[in-house]
Symmetry: C2
DNA sequence: CCAAGTTGTCTATGATACTAGACAACTTGA
DNA sequence: TCAAGTTGTCTAGTATCATAGACAACTTGG
């Protein structure tokens, strides 16, 4: 990359610096509100030009993770999104309650057939036609999670197009006459982001994710959709209420 | 990166292609000796210029993973290094037996103090002075593992310098009069490569590693060194003899 | 031998990445 | 008020990244 590199790795220097700083924030070395070291000092620790540091900080500022104040310093903005797990969980409401702006984005919609596990979750027979929606959710400009959602193709024909238009699962269900729904049991595990999700979540390489599997039901308890979501672990914390 | 990218990710296109191909090899989609698709076909599947594919293949060839034959095609060279786990395990012998050239490289040597666990492994008291050696091992030009080795600073004064000169743990021990040694119990687990090791192992992002913890003893059973090694899982397979 | 398909090499162009130095604009604390 | 430290902006030069097209050199199968 730079002149000094003996062999280019294919990863830009500014990205390495940005990942390093983001990691420092994720690890708690820099807390929300903290002042980062000066650009010159960061440049010295990473042994790069100050402009390269500025590129890295600009990328972080673009995502709302840090905020530069001229003459004063650069400060950490990032805060983990508090994500309460209740039976009535709406992404847009959670993000809005945090004072941030929710966004949805469709990655891909395709036809699929139910595996035995999916069929059990959705109360269908194995092999039943499904619609698979791959989507992404952001708070302000920071990607929060990628999720794969399956719905019955018979109950929700053309669901992919509806989601593309509304970019909201709640509105999609409304479109088919579902006025309210509840989340059933939620399974949470952890893992490491794979290459595809890393690119989508704009996540530093090799970082942990929270994996959430859940099925939403209507008020009669009939399964509507089942989801497999991957959250950037460093950008969210799940809150489980006791009692 | 490219003109078509809306936002540059900081990772070069050729690196994404190279990682994709290496992943294909690691996953077994391309076996050793197989012919890869033609450069034009690869360029189409990744939607990049043929020259970008050539850059990716050159990087893989540089590491001995593929081999190009003019007029014919590009073939997979990579083969997992068979790594027998015996009480008498010498990296250089294993690699040599595979017809490849072993290399050692010192990353860092520093002073350290024994944690309770390290002290127990080495038969010392907690807080005892240690020397910590961070080293890397390669077969031909492919990195195989990164390992952290701890030795007693009292038994092996200046061990860091000796390792830097000899680049071999066996020779280091010989330097202090240890003629032979045996490996004790070996603990194997798996994990995901962290950012630092990923860079050192030149490993595609988010890939699994084999984690090996072991302590070497002299012939009287006295602990000499204890190691924490991280192997690129896709480049090695451990062989455990039964009986 | 020939045609098709492969890798190797060349030239060319434009966009990015990184470094370097200088100075402006601003904040903070003494 | 002033000096020191901070971020913001500008110009400039070199190297890398990626694309594009053309053709050479070679292998393979018929």
């Amino acid at each position: 990359m730079s002149m000094q590199d003996t062999a280019s790795s294919g990863v830009a220097l500014w990205r390495l610096v940005a990942d390093g700083i983001e990691r420092g924030i994720a690890d708690g070395r820099f807390a929300a509100g903290d002042k980062l070291p000066g650009e010159v000092e960061i440049a010295e620790t990473y042994r790069v030009n100050r402009h390269t540091v500025r590129r890295a900080l600009a990328a972080l500022a673009e995502r709302g993770i840090v905020r530069a104040e001229r003459g004063s310093g650069t400060y950490v903005e990032a805060q983990r999104l508090a994500y309460p797990l209740r039976s009535r969980t709406r992404f847009s409401e959670i993000v809005g309650a945090d004072g941030r702006e929710p966004h949805g984005r469709l990655i891909e919609a395709s036809d699929d057939v139910a595996t035995r596990e999916l069929a059990r979750e959705l109360g269908l027979k194995a092999g039943a036609p499904l619609i698979r929606i791959e989507a992404m959710r952001l708070a302000d400009r920071t990607p929060i999670c990628v999720s794969t959602t399956w719905l019955s193709a018979q109950l929700f024909p053309g669901a992919g197009d509806v989601f593309a238009a509304t970019r909201s699962m709640t509105k999609l269900l409304e479109h088919y006459g579902v006025r309210d729904y509840r989340r059933g049991a939620t399974r949470i595990t952890a893992g490491i982001v794979d290459a595809a999700d890393a690119a989508r979540l704009d996540l530093a390489l090799g970082r942990p994710i929270l994996v959430v599997d859940a099925t939403d039901h209507d008020l009669d308890g009939k399964p509507l959709v089942t989801k497999h979501s991957r959250f950037a672990a460093e950008r969210v914390e799940f809150l489980v209420e006791n009692g």
